[in-house]
């Protein structure tokens, strides 16, 4: 128990000395660990699924392949959830994080942490929405998926509340973007999932009445930059063009006007594709090629100079509905509103084949070891093996609950949630 003078005097000196010691120790440890850090970080990230559509925002699971035979036996665990959600899980190490929302007006915000091995809930933190919570009945406040930099997790909601917690649920910062910008909302609900690029949380908040994107410092929660965006309803999520050829990673911001490549540190628009794009499914980047839901699908090849791009092909008959396009085995895949999976050539955009699945679909498939894993809105899972001339349904499983999220995959396991439950699928 400190008295006041202790707090401001001795405690301050002790704190400074302690901080200095920690800094010296940290510096030494940093030098020792520094050489091995890239390897450690790469390994740990590879086994994670840190944001919407995965670490590289392209829906591709790396590491141990997922089990292709989904059945009751492949359900490793199933646990109850305290609220609704279209948000998907994210996984950092042995922890799974998920949002939910509850209450008559969906104004109660939940952040949940589970142990991936057992499904046991490790902690839950709740907050109250500070922005508008109105949504179409199919949506709810917990529609955007969380993101993480490996040290903290960032939860975002339709009410534009952006919450940063450490891995143990301690609040680090709270941005009420809904109350800071009260007109930046959509009466049907907002769905854009932020992503972390470097030390920036990239957030799109775009509606008919007000629209902006911002970069928020991962540690302080302060706004690093904010740019005006086309004033129109937009449910897409930021994408990421990974660092290449010595050029830093770029954030990709899609809207009805097209796709802007943005420096995540400054918000500077590096280049701009202006031929329009969808406002629901989002762009994806695989092997340096950007696939945009634009006039069907359009692909871009970024220039090696880091400031230009070249249009490669456009295909009007590869249009996606709500799920975003994915790439596997040299093919692009889209799901249309009728529930058909359409395969196209990544090289040319030529439509190759269609496979009738039972739709409709809301979530984007996960790609693992050349297979597609996708859940329809009725809770039916399909594992599809795409070949060059046809798609083969390898297994199906009916969970009989509404599933609207994009699943997550990490360390050989698949995770999906409904409004009431969270499942883990793994090899029995």
């Amino acid at each position: 128990m400190l008295n006041i003078s202790m707090k401001s005097g001795l405690a301050g000196i002790l704190r400074n000395r302690l901080d200095s010691s920690i800094r010296i120790l940290g510096l030494t440890a940093g030098i020792i660990i520094g050489m091995a850090a890239p390897m450690l970080q790469q390994n740990s990230i590879a086994a994670d699924w840190r944001q919407f559509r995965g670490n590289d925002v392209n829906s591709i699971a790396t590491g141990t392949p997922l089990p292709t035979e989904l059945s009751g036996e492949s359900i490793a665990w199933k646990t109850e959830l305290p609220g609704r959600g279209l948000s998907g899980p994210i996984i950092v190490g042995s922890r799974l994080f998920l949002t939910a929302s509850s209450g008559y007006t969906q104004d109660r915000l939940h952040v949940l942490c589970f142990d991936t091995a057992s499904g046991k809930q490790l902690w839950e933190r709740q907050f109250n929405a500070t922005g508008r919570t109105n949504c179409h009945e199919k949506m709810c406040n917990a529609t955007p998926t969380m993101t993480s930099d490996g040290e903290r997790v960032y939860a975002f909601y339709s009410s534009n509340d952006l919450i940063c917690l450490d891995m143990d649920g301690q609040l680090q910062w709270f941005r009420g973007l809904g109350s800071e910008f009260p007109n930046a909302s959509n009466s049907l609900g907002m769905s854009s999932s932020p992503i972390v690029v470097g030390t920036t949380v990239v957030v799109q908040v775009e509606s008919d009445a007000e629209a902006f994107a911002c970069g928020v410092d991962t540690v302080s929660g302060e706004t690093k930059w904010q740019i005006d965006r086309p004033r129109a309803a937009n449910w897409t999520s930021p994408g990421m063009l990974p660092a290449a050829n010595g050029k830093p990673a770029l954030a990709l911001l899609q809207s009805s006007k097209g796709l802007a490549a943005v420096d995540p540190d400054t918000g500077t628009i590096v280049w701009n594709f202006e031929k329009g794009a969808s406002t629901i499914p989002s762009s994806t980047v695989v092997d340096g090629q950007i696939i945009i839901p634009s006039s069907g699908l359009t692909t871009l090849k970024p220039g090696e100079d880091g400031i230009s791009f070249q249009e490669v092909w456009n295909s009007g008959n590869l249009s996606p509905s709500t799920p975003s396009p994915v790439v596997a085995n040299g093919m692009t895949f889209t799901l249309n509103s009728a529930g058909a999976l359409t395969a196209g050539s990544v090289q040319s955009g030529e439509r190759l084949w269609q496979l009738r699945l039972k739709g409709p679909f809301c979530g984007t498939p996960v790609v693992s070891a050349g297979h597609l894993f996708v859940f329809n809105e009725g809770g039916q899972a399909f594992v599809v093996k795409p070949e060059q001339d046809k798609g083969i349904i390898v297994s199906e499983l009916d969970l009989s609950e509404t599933i609207l999220c994009s699943p997550a995959a990490a360390d050989g396991a698949l995770y999906v949630r409904s409004d009431g439950h969270l499942w883990k699928f793994a090899k029995p």
């Binding site: 128990m1 400190l2 008295n3 006041i4 707090k7 209450g103 008559y104 902690w123 839950e124 933190r125 709740q126 907050f127 109250n128 500070t130 508008r132 109105n134 179409h136 919450i163 649920g169 301690q170 609040l171 680090q172 910062w173 709270f174 941005r175 009420g176 109350s179 800071e180 009260p182 007109n183 959509n186 009466s187 049907l188 509606s207 008919d208 009445a209 302080s220 929660g221 302060e222 706004t223 309803a233």
Partner: protein
């Protein structure tokens, strides 16, 4: 004499440390209450939450009391502080102090959010508290507690013989502030042959004067200040979009106060209409205007614009917008500008609005007669 000195020193020490402890807790809570938008004060708030955590369970009540002077943003920091403290107690296998927390839950002068937070934690260790506390919360300042109390009555009413269920439904209505519950109650009351005035129950404004159309082709009229925005004269006549326009009385009998311009007047495509009414208050007070409309709109209270929103046909629902307003004693003028665009889709033809006056729980506040002293309707009957 020595023992007296020792005792005195000990007492002084305890008193001093108590004061110091109280000061530290108060400082930490004040720091959290000072947190501002745009992440201002975040680092200090983080340290304050940690300091409160070190104090353990004795900080539970002070943290809850801190909600009273906290902004919604700061309240979320306090909520995290409380969750951290309560989680630590649970992890250590200790029960939360039930008596003081229950007293806090019962204290309607405290923050509704904090009381609900305490209640939900208590419920985890003693589910019986629900039946002890909720029945007395029908007219609570917390909409969540009211909802639970109404739900409990609805369960009783559904299980009761038809002949005895009506009073239960009527009692439930007195506290109901959510549409789904009122819909259930209204259906039961009407089925029993009794009457219910949903409009009055929610405080919808039904009697309006409307003027228009003014031009909104290409959605350009939203930013044009047509004459009603600068003067409100009942006998005024202006040049409108299709000729001379003047104020016309119009009212709605819709249960939920929807004034349908497309049906009652005309679905003028690319137009602006203005609707005006008055609401009489018995005193200066802060209330909420709750608006639902699929059209773009601006709203003025006593000549001051309180909010505007340029969004067309993205859905509508009751209480779509909750706008805090400061009302004065006497007559208050409410002016709505509502805009229709030129979209041609079937789902883009709606041209309507609904507005009600209520308190923060969503309970109607009666439109006080000019000479009468009135109390909020939701405190008693409807």
């Amino acid at each position: 004499m020595l023992w007296k000195s020792v005792v005195a020193a000990a007492v002084t020490s305890v008193l001093l440390s108590t004061v110091t402890f109280a000061d530290e807790v108060a400082d930490a809570i004040k720091t959290i209450q000072s947190v501002q938008p745009a992440s201002k004060g975040t680092a200090d708030a983080r340290r304050a939450v940690s300091a409160l955590a070190r104090g353990g369970a004795k900080n539970l009540i002070p943290v809850l009391q801190g909600f009273r002077s906290a902004s919604p943003l700061a309240a979320n920091w306090l909520r995290n502080a409380f969750d951290n403290l309560a989680s630590a107690e649970a992890a250590a296998g200790r029960k939360l102090p039930e008596q003081p927390l229950t007293s806090f839950v019962r204290d309607t002068q405290e923050s509704p959010v904090a009381r609900r937070l305490a209640y939900e934690w208590l419920l985890k260790q003693n589910p019986e508290l629900k039946t002890q506390l909720i029945p007395g919360m029908l007219l609570d300042p917390s909409a969540e507690f009211r909802r639970d109390a109404v739900a409990m009555l609805l369960e009783q009413a559904a299980a009761a013989p038809e002949a005895t269920s009506l009073p239960l439904y009527q009692k439930a209505l007195s506290g109901a502030v959510h549409k789904d519950q009122v819909d259930t109650i209204a259906a039961a009351i009407r089925k029993a042959g009794s009457e219910i005035n949903i409009q009055n129950h929610f405080g919808f404004l039904a009697d309006w004067k409307v003027i228009g159309p003014f031009d909104n082709k290409e959605e350009k009229g939203f930013d044009v200040a047509y004459p009603p925005e600068t003067e409100l004269r009942e006998d005024a006549e202006y040049d409108g979009q299709l000729g001379k326009v003047s104020w016309k009385p119009v009212n709605t009998e819709d249960d939920y106060g929807i004034l349908d311009i497309a049906k009652k007047i005309q679905n003028y495509k690319g137009s602006v209409m203005y609707a005006s009414t008055t609401w009489t208050s018995d005193k200066d007070r802060q209330l909420e205007l709750r608006l639902g409309t699929p059209n773009a709109w601006k709203l003025w209270v006593n000549g001051k614009m309180v909010f505007g929103r340029e969004e067309y046909h993205r859905g509508t629902e009751m209480d779509q917008y909750k706008i805090p307003v400061q009302l004065k004693a006497g007559s208050n003028t409410i002016l709505l500008k509502i805009c229709q665009n030129e979209q041609t889709q079937d789902w883009a033809q709606s041209y309507h609005f609904q507005i009600r006056v209520c308190d923060a729980t969503g309970a109607a506040v009666s439109n006080a007669p000019k000479t009468a002293q009135t109390e909020p309707a939701a405190k008693g009957t409807n």
